[in-house]
């Protein structure tokens, strides 16, 4: 072998040889996401792993997302067929199995449940309906995505439309869970859109809230919530798991794990030894899973799929879903304001889009702009946590329909 041949062989094994322009663009997009996360503080916990996963997944010839390769071997003596492992497959391919098999999102829900206090919701059960109303965005966007059929390059299938619609739930794990089941090829754009909009809640929601409410409505001071006993808080996760799973089995993995986390949280006072499990769910487990989820979701965003007109469609539709969901929550809040004789502040309706606790905080901030002595935070936490349950239920409904 001549020197030149050796050199050319060596060059061909380098990543530079397999570099495509799409990969170049994706590396740039990955850097932008990492920049937004680090410098602008847009969901850094998720966007840093997603951005870096995107970087890893688009590295030429690294093959981190490659599946294992098997050779079919025929035994010449017995004629038996067997499979022999030729290439072991990339690291992220194996990590991705947790997304593909729907393992990571429920585990994240376990952590979310372990960190969430459902007390405000238990104290004011009516607020659960605000969490349901805010899911309207999911379904209108589902139809909207199908209506875009007439634009070339923006034809979405029913399953893709459902996956885009779920962005309106403003719940990252739910969006990933549903998309991995219905339209796994859209995982990258949908996850990025979902988490970006969750980060932009304080910018997107206030104009909609102000446009749909009057000053008088925004100034409403709500009554103090009743105290909730510990026993009630312990019974709540068990009751929710049983009821939701009986009515809507596809929602059981998400709701079940959310409620298990919450049960650990509420029973720790009774059995302090459970603190070990609680701490794991609240910290180590959710952090490990977040890294795996982010990296593998980012790695699915390959240039060939991400750089399409559809990505823009997903981004726009996701925003529409989010806005419609917020608006529906506020409108339902207004209905409750009327029916309760002015006792409900409609601003808490916008918190029904999940995004805990940012959406509740937005309700508090907007409310205080008009009445500085008004504290809506705990009232908004009710619809906010109801939104988490609501988006999981909506995902279950879509799964039941499309599976």
């Amino acid at each position: 072998m001549s020197f030149l041949e050796s050199l050319s062989k060596f060059v061909l094994t380098m990543g530079v040889a397999g570099f495509t322009w799409q990969q170049g663009v994706m590396l740039a997009v990955a850097c932008i996401l990492i920049y937004l996360a680090l410098r602008k503080g847009f969901e850094p916990l998720l966007l840093v792993p997603i951005g870096f996963g995107m970087l890893l997944g688009n590295l030429p010839l690294a093959g981190l997302m490659d599946p294992p390769v098997y050779h079919l071997v025929v035994n010449p003596q017995t004629g038996e067929h067997s499979h022999e492992l030729k290439e072991i497959g990339g690291l992220i391919y194996y990590i991705y199995q947790g997304v593909k098999l729907g393992i990571y999102p429920p585990l994240i829900f376990l952590g979310v449940g372990a960190m969430t206090d459902f007390g405000p919701l238990i104290a004011n059960p009516k607020s659960i309906l605000l969490g349901a109303a805010a899911q309207f965005g999911i379904f209108t966007t589902f139809i909207g995505a199908l209506l875009l059929d007439f634009i070339p390059g923006l034809t979405f299938t029913v399953k893709e439309a459902a996956s885009i619609g779920i962005i309106g739930g403003a719940d990252g794990p739910t969006a990933i869970y549903l998309t991995a089941r219905l339209a796994p090829h859209l995982l990258g754009p949908i996850a990025v859109a979902a988490y970006s909009y969750m980060a932009l809640v304080p910018l997107i929601q206030p104009p909609i809230m102000k446009a749909l409410t009057t000053r008088k409505e925004r100034e409403v001071v709500m009554e103090q919530l009743r105290p909730v006993s510990q026993t009630e808080k312990i019974v709540f996760p068990i009751m929710v798991t049983v009821l939701v799973s009986v009515i809507l089995p596809p929602a059981a993995p998400l709701v079940g794990m959310l409620m298990l986390g919450n049960l650990l949280r509420e029973t720790v006072a009774m059995q302090p030894i459970l603190n070990r499990l609680l701490k794991t769910a609240q910290n180590e487990l959710i952090n490990i899973v977040t890294i795996f989820l982010g990296v593998s979701v980012g790695a699915t965003a390959s240039g060939l799929i991400f750089l399409q007109a559809k990505t823009l469609g997903i981004v726009c539709l996701g925003l529409a879903a989010f806005c419609v969901g917020t608006a529906a929550g506020v409108v339902f809040g207004k209905i409750m304001y009327r029916t309760s004789g002015g006792k409900v502040n409609p601003l808490i309706g916008s918190a029904g889009v999940s995004a805990v606790p940012m959406a509740a905080r937005v309700s508090q901030v907007v409310g205080q702009q008009y009445n500085p002595s008004n504290f809506l935070l705990m009232h908004a936490m009710g619809p906010n946590v109801a939104g988490v349950i609501g988006s999981a239920v909506a995902a279950g409904v879509l799964l039941a329909m499309l599976e």
């Binding site: 663009v25 602008k40 923006l154 932009l200 910018l203 939701v244 399409q308 981004v315 609501g390």
Partner: protein, 309 residues
């Protein structure tokens, strides 16, 4: 406030940047093929059981497979194949309305010019499912077949259509004792989609409404239990107050109360003073104190190195 507005401006700038970037990507990729369309090819696989043929396929908008069973009544099924929608694509006909592939059915076993009935049954069909036939030679090529939609046990719907050899539904157009029929079960896509919007959204309301009811009931029960638990305590407290001799309360003179208060204050102040004094005193030996001073000096060097920020 200034910081908030500058943050908002930054965020708006970032959003603009993202939108411009995405528009650029979209323009760059505008000519590319859509990638969703090819994922939903409901290609059937056929299995024959005597005179029946079953097609197994994953319909559009579903992830699990369904079975459609074919039978020729008054004739014999000779063959059946799946057919994509593209060759039958016509203006005004939407592939989305056909959630399965089309089926090219060949049937025989009848006399020339005779008639047979083709039956398609599946638990995937609804009462609104229609049977449409494609015949390239006919005008218009797509016809709504006059099919009977019969309800069977286990939520199975059977569509039965009578086909005449050489008739308008027969694609070969000749009277030869053989019928070729290109047929597809059709459901209105928009009916389905809008139904989804309404029924599914109210489904979410229903589930959460049931939860609300459960929470209301549980709340009532727990509040009642709490009240019951509290009741004896409250009653005991009330009784204790009621039983307390009024004279005992009145017996303390204001001057005496003031004197007691002053005495308590002086006593506690003295205790606090002695505690503060005892902090100063150390029971460590001179050797230990010297060691401690040495450690603190070393630490100071570490934390006070030049250029440390």
């Amino acid at each position: 406030m200034k910081t908030e507005s500058s943050r908002a401006k930054h965020a708006v700038r970032t959003i603009r940047l993202m939108v411009v970037l995405l528009c650029g990507l979209a323009i760059a990729s505008a000519g590319w093929a859509a990638f969703g369309d090819d994922l939903e090819k409901p290609r059937p696989e056929f299995t024959r059981h005597e005179d029946r043929v079953a097609a197994k396929l994953i319909p559009r908008g579903k992830s699990t497979s369904v079975l459609i069973e074919f039978q020729a009544i008054g004739g014999r099924l000779l063959g059946i194949e799946g057919m994509g929608f593209d060759p039958a694509g016509q203006k005004g006909m939407d592939a989305k309305d056909f959630r399965s592939d089309l089926f090219a059915v060949t049937a025989g076993g009848i006399s020339p010019g005779g008639e047979l009935k083709l039956s398609l049954s599946s638990n995937y069909f609804t009462q609104a499912t229609e049977l449409w036939v494609f015949n390239r030679a006919a005008q218009p090529p797509w016809l709504a077949a006059p099919a009977e939609n019969i309800e069977r046990p286990n939520r199975v719907q059977e569509l039965v259509v009578a086909v005449k050899d050489g008739g308008p539904l027969d694609s070969d157009g000749t009277v030869n004792g053989e019928i070729v029929l290109v047929v597809g079960p059709r459901d209105s896509f928009w009916g389905y989609a809008l139904g989804t919007l309404l029924i599914r959204f109210f489904g979410v309301f229903l589930v959460l409404g049931v939860l609300q009811l459960g929470m209301l009931l549980a709340g009532q029960v727990f509040q009642a239990l709490d009240r019951r638990k509290e009741a004896p305590r409250t009653a005991a407290a009330r009784r204790a107050v009621a039983e307390e001799p009024a004279e005992a309360l009145e017996a303390v003179e204001p001057e005496a109360a003031t004197a007691i208060g002053v005495a308590l204050h002086l006593h506690l102040a003295a205790l606090r003073a002695s505690a503060a004094l005892s902090l100063e005193a150390s029971d460590a030996s001179s050797w230990a104190r010297q060691g401690r001073t040495q450690i603190m000096r070393d630490r100071l060097l570490t934390h006070d190195r030049p250029g440390r920020k």
